[in-house]
């Protein structure tokens, strides 16, 4: 049998009244792949998840999961996928164990039958199995929610912003767990607003305002960035921003954390530029060439 994609999305469109949440979105996710949807809030990620999990009907285009159409075969899809919505959908008044066994029973199975699949994750929260889910920390809630979404051995896993509101350490652990699941053959579609998590995916799609800006491996996207990126800092950051934006030959300058990122075409002479603006009265200016990151790619593609 021909290797078929876990998820196929073709020209998918979704409108809410006059607002277009998804505008002719197309991509596919291969079997056993971790596919990341990277984009800010309101980009349409959640709408896309809801269509793929058969909770919403699209206004145009088609989506399929395991070869099943999201509209016509929605009942079958519901048996085969695991879904973890944006907010961890757990019952706060039930204990860790009660939550997990409820979600297992929902799919007609039990914790014991599938313990091996969730064990690497569940073992971390098992010491607290009598604790109410509402009393868990963000990271533990996230792990429990993942266990609940996995307990029926889905072949495709949908994770909508699973790391939002979770501390950095737990986020790292979480991605390690996803790596483990991929080795079990589970295909994963995961969304995140954090650009730094993009590198943990096999392939990513950049999405903004309902449109896909680009799909590639994280490295491929970065390699496709054909300009130089410089990190700029100085004493008068806001003055610098205005000054650099007025400079010719610079295609972009934007705040990036505590520094500014300056995007300029090949052949830009940073040393000469720093010397020039220092002479104009800017003090403490330093400028270094760095490689482009996913966020630089995103900002550049968004500007187009």
């Amino acid at each position: 049998m021909e290797e078929r994609n876990a998820i196929e999305v073709r020209e998918l469109t979704k409108r809410y009244g006059g607002v277009t949440a998804l505008d002719r979105v197309s991509f596919e996710v291969g079997c056993g792949e971790i596919f990341g949807l990277i984009g800010p809030d309101g980009a349409g990620k959640t709408s896309l998840f809801r269509i793929l999990t058969t909770l919403l009907a699209p206004d145009g285009g088609s989506a399929s999961v395991n070869g099943l159409d999201s509209v016509a075969d929605y009942r079958q899809i519901r048996r085969q996928v695991g879904y973890m919505p944006g907010r961890f959908s757990l019952y706060a008044d039930l204990s860790v164990e009660e939550n997990l066994s409820f979600f297992a029973a929902l799919f007609g199975t039990g914790i014991r039958e599938n313990y091996d699949l969730v064990a690497p994750i569940y073992s971390q929260i098992e010491p607290f199995r009598k604790r109410r889910a509402g009393k868990l920390s963000g990271g533990m809630k996230q792990k429990l929610a993942l266990c609940c979404a996995l307990i029926h051995r889905p072949s495709v896993l949908f994770l909508d912003e699973p790391t939002t509101g979770v501390d950095a350490l737990s986020r790292g652990e979480f991605w390690d767990m996803l790596d483990g699941l991929r080795r079990c053959g589970i295909s994963i579609l995961v969304s995140t607003p954090y650009m730094d998590e993009a590198g943990r995916c096999d392939r990513i799609a950049l999405i903004n305002e309902g449109r896909i800006l680009g799909i590639d491996t994280p490295q491929g996207l970065v390699d496709g960035f054909d300009e130089g990126v410089y990190e700029l800092s100085g004493d008068d950051m806001s003055g610098l921003l205005a000054r650099v934006r007025a400079e010719r030959g610079i295609s972009g300058c934007y705040p990036f954390g505590a520094v500014h990122h300056v995007v300029a075409a090949e052949g830009f002479d940073a040393v000469a530029f720093v010397a020039r603006i220092a002479a104009e009265g800017f003090s403490g200016v330093s400028m270094q060439c760095i490689g482009a990151g996913i966020e630089d790619v995103f900002i550049k593609k968004m500007g187009r």
Binding site: R50, T53, T54, L55, L56, A57, R75, R78, R79, V81, Y83, M84, P85, G86, R87, S89, L90, Y91, A92, D93, L94, E98, S101, F102, F103, A105, L106, F107, G108, C148, A149
Partner: protein
């Protein structure tokens, strides 16, 4: 089936874990029953009565004796004709009975045909005055006046005990509260918490989700029904003349109807607060105002009488009165039963059609 059983278990856990709500739900019927049965009542007790007696006679003595022996009245003694009004004003008495000098003289021996006794009532509270006046008339209508007054008998509730009147009303109210409001809030809570999304993305059919939600509340209602019926019988001394099975049967149907209403509300509301407000506006107010629980339907303008026909509680309360107070057999409430049954079917159909297994 395993999924369904664990669903019911989960719902029961939700209820058990929410101790405060559960306590309120279980205690509320008892508290309401006792409140309405003893504290809040349209019965009038402890009416202070004074009398103006210009001429003592055997008949006057008997009449006063009847007043002072009656549990509703407190006899305060005699006052002079001139003081009659001032003792009403000062609050010394709520009512003054003025006997004519020829009170008790047989009609044929009398010279004029004027009434031989006058009742003056402090009507600043018109309800009290009206009810008290009725009692007083009844008491005075001893042998001597019997001929002059129509004989009235209050059937089924001879003492006009207001508790009798309120028990069916409370039942109409409580089941709406528990079944409709709690069910709708419980379903909407899943929407608000996002758990509904996960439930929908599972092989469990929505019908099962709903059924599983209803079962615990149905059980809770059964406990309440038992509490109410026991309290009505033993604490309030209601006769429960009719068939108890009929009362239970009619109540079960009403409970199912209330559950269906709750389900319907949950299909409209997205937030728990919205569900509460809709329940209160759509159900509590009409039940209290238009069901005949407090205000008699016959006294309403025609348009409201018409509206009240669509309020399930009206038919339920009517049916309960027939069963619990009049003591009629179940066959006599067939009309109410069938109307409630039709309403239940209609609401169920409507909400199942609206409850969808998608988010839109």
């Amino acid at each position: 089936m395993k999924g369904f059983a664990s669903f019911v278990k989960k719902e029961i856990l939700h209820i058990l874990r929410d101790r405060r709500t559960m306590l309120i739900v279980l205690l509320m019927p008892a508290v309401l029953m006792l409140l309405f049965g003893f504290a809040i009542s349209t019965e009038v007790n402890n009416i202070d009565v004074a009398a103006v007696v210009p001429k003592r006679s055997e008949e006057v003595r008997k009449a006063l004796e009847r007043i002072s022996n009656n549990p509703y009245f407190t006899y305060k003694g005699t006052v002079s004709q001139m003081d009659a009004e001032s003792c009403l004003r000062s609050g010394f008495a709520d009512a003054v009975v003025v006997f004519a000098p020829d009170f008790g003289v047989p009609a044929e021996a009398r010279t004029d045909r004027r009434p031989k006794v006058q009742i003056m009532f402090d009507a600043s509270n018109s309800n009290d005055a009206q009810t008290g006046e009725w009692y007083l008339r009844g008491v005075l209508a001893g042998e001597s006046l019997a001929a002059a007054m129509p004989e009235t008998r209050m059937l089924y509730n001879p003492q006009m005990k207001s508790a009798y009147n309120f028990v069916p009303g409370i039942m109409g109210l409580i089941f709406i509260l528990i079944c409709a409001i709690m069910t709708s809030v419980s379903i909407v809570r899943e929407k608000e918490n996002g758990t509904m999304e996960v439930l929908l993305v599972s092989p469990v059919r929505p019908l099962r989700i709903i059924l599983a939600k209803m079962i615990p509340y149905f059980l809770l209602s059964c406990i309440n029904l038992a509490t109410i019926m026991l309290l009505a019988r033993f604490a309030l001394g209601m006769p429960m003349a009719g068939s108890a099975a009929g009362t239970v049967g009619l109540s079960m149907l009403y409970v199912v109807l209330a559950l269906a209403l709750g389900l319907f509300i949950s299909t409209i509301a997205d937030k728990q607060a919205t569900a509460l407000i809709i329940s209160a506006m759509l159900m509590l107010l009409p039940v209290i105002m238009l069901s005949g629980m407090i205000f008699p339907i016959e006294n309403m303008p025609e348009i409201l009488q018409f509206v009240s026909c669509f309020i399930p509680a009206r038919w339920y309360i009517d049916g309960l009165r027939k069963l619990m107070i009049e003591g009629l057999p179940f066959a006599e409430v067939m009309k109410e039963f069938l109307i409630l049954l039709a309403m239940t079917a209609a609401i169920m159909a409507m909400s199942l059609k609206k409850f969808n297994d998608k988010l839109e």
